[in-house]
């Protein structure tokens, strides 16, 4: 059944994450990617149809990793989800740098393969559903103002402060959790937000 593979798909994806986290999307040239794991450029294209497709997989993998944690916590408790952002960043520093410092549009320029588009839509829908359900529980009903309030407390505030640390290659200190808790309580309804 042919020669045994010397490299795995994940080897390339991991190397890509390392390179982007360190040098930004511009640093991810195919030569740099292959060089990082001493693979030939041909092996990159043996696995991924294009640089864009590889970057799309990198991006989706990161979103999935983050979102799995986030949604799971969100189903129990809003504040837990807020703090889960912090924990995820600590556990995945390289992925966090990519997620927080760049946008999907800045990584990939072209169109995605249909299969990846489907995965992306699925992720978006899952997040939307989880957040909507949470807002209903926390506020009683979903309005634009409530939505903004929730997304601010769950998402914008934690990622906003974490971004500053990641940009300087530092890890957010423990006290950040206090700030986020205070913000959450100030902005979300006092009632149990389960």
């Amino acid at each position: 059944m042919g020669r045994k593979a010397h490299f795995q798909n994940s080897d390339f994806l991991d190397a890509a994450i390392r390179i982007i986290a360190e040098g930004g999307p511009g640093a991810l040239t195919i030569a740099a990617l292959a060089g990082q794991i001493h693979a030939p450029v041909g092996s990159v294209y043996h696995r991924f149809p294009s640089r864009d497709a590889l970057l799309a997989e990198v991006w989706l993998g990161i979103i999935e990793s983050f979102q799995d944690d986030f949604i799971k916590k969100l189903e129990e408790d809003g504040l837990a989800a807020t703090l889960a952002c912090l924990q995820w960043v600590r556990q995945h520093p390289a992925e966090a740098r990519i997620l927080l410092l760049y946008r999907m549009q800045d990584l990939t320029t072209g169109r995605w393969p249909p299969e990846l588009q489907k995965r992306a839509r699925r992720l978006k829908k899952d997040l939307h559903d989880a957040v909507t359900a949470f807002i209903k529980r926390a506020f009683g009903k979903v309005t634009p103002e409530n939505t903004d309030r929730a997304i601010f407390a769950l998402y914008d505030a934690p990622l906003g402060i974490i971004r500053r640390y990641l940009s300087d290659n530092r890890v957010p200190p423990a006290a950040v959790a206090d700030l986020l808790r205070e913000t959450y309580n100030a902005v979300m309804p006092k009632a149990k937000s389960r």
Copy 2:
């Protein structure tokens, strides 16, 4: 005294801001920049020593514009400075997209001309001084925890929520001011923070 100039430095800087705000730093090729105002590429290099130098001027100009507003308000009142972020973004949507969606490191790769480095250091120092003075007034003394608290309320929180709007090419609604006020009051000392 030579031919009358058909283009001004600011024409190129403004065009660059438009292009980056719309398509990201990667869209700013010299050809695209010159084409935007129907200038020849030679005229770009007649005014700016390199693409990096031009981007450095773009970045510094944006920082200066933002920081002037921010520091002026900060000298009176912390909450006013927080809300000044919102106002500045509304008045400078293209500049705001660049400031919030990208980092200096992602625009320019090489070293800056010494004169621009000096301007950058000056801006950094001005901001640091203003923030430090504010922290002293608000908390009594400067500690790492107080610093984080202040920067979160003044900077991370507003820019965090605004970033989401800018990324989608939307303008932050008025209700965002309420969220920021509540966050500010929750996180900063109750005493007059003048």
